[in-house]
Amino acid sequence: MAQQDTCCTHKHPEGYVPLHHKEVDPAHDHFMISGDPLSLDQACALVRSDEAGAISTFEGMTRGTFNGKQVLRLEYEAYDEMARKVWYEIVAEARNKYHLLGTVMHHRIGEVAVGQTSVIIAVASAHRADAINAVHFLIDSLKARLPIWKKELLNDGTGNWKKNEDANI
């Protein structure tokens, strides 16, 4: 199967035999929108298996400054039902592009203080190229398409709804 690398040039090893799951399946694909703190360890545990040779992850967090201004916190909200539907479409596309064993997409909503994690992506695959590239694809797709919004509260008392740049994927 032709692979389209979107973020790196890692190649599959000689004699590579794809080991993966083609369909989106709740046993292997995990999605959560939660008001509670997120855990990278828990996300990795969801996709760890004896078939996996690699787990690649992305963790996004609240940055303390924006254009030189001090950020107090971000406030997230989601259209839960639609987010789950869009997540399913994104994961189906990822499984079509890459050989994946397990995926995790966890997003926090409500207040997320500076330094705290707002989003986690974790992907398990037999070989690293698929996991690394799929993480990039999943976080870019999330930022472009998932119906979730954040408001940035600054220490000057102002607050702005943010708008992601088109990820162009």
């Binding site: 996004g60 997230y76 909200e77 989601a78 259209y79 039902e81 639609m82 539907k85 997003h107 707002s118 989003v119 976080i139 999330l142 930022k143 472009a144 398409r145 998932l146 119906p147 979730i148 919004w149 954040k150 408001k151 709804w161 943010k162 708008k163 992601n164």
Partner: protein, 89 residues
């Protein structure tokens, strides 16, 4: 008469006077469409017009073609959502 549920997020909720959802009615004598639902919303909240310039519209959790809203029929118990530019992550 068609009664539909409408959801407002982010800047759309600000324009809807901080309301996150409500049930509205379309009853203008014509078959109800997504376009008539949006007209009903902008009539109630004039600031929604500016929001809609950059927002998407979803019907029952699917994005809709904003140029084709007058051809999309609306039925009772449908859920419409105003989806401003997203900013997850």
């Amino acid at each position: 008469m068609v009664e539909f549920k409408i959801l407002y997020f982010a800047t759309a909720r600000d324009a809807a006077l901080d309301k996150s959802s409500e049930t509205l009615e379309v009853d203008d004598g014509r078959p109800a469409t997504l376009a008539s639902a949006v007209e009903c919303i902008t009539a109630k909240y004039p600031k929604m017009r500016a929001v809609l310039e950059s927002a998407m519209v979803a019907l029952n959790e699917d994005y809709c073609d904003k140029d084709n809203m007058s051809n999309i029929k609306l039925k009772s118990s449908d859920t419409v959502a105003i989806i401003p530019p997203v900013s997850g992550g």
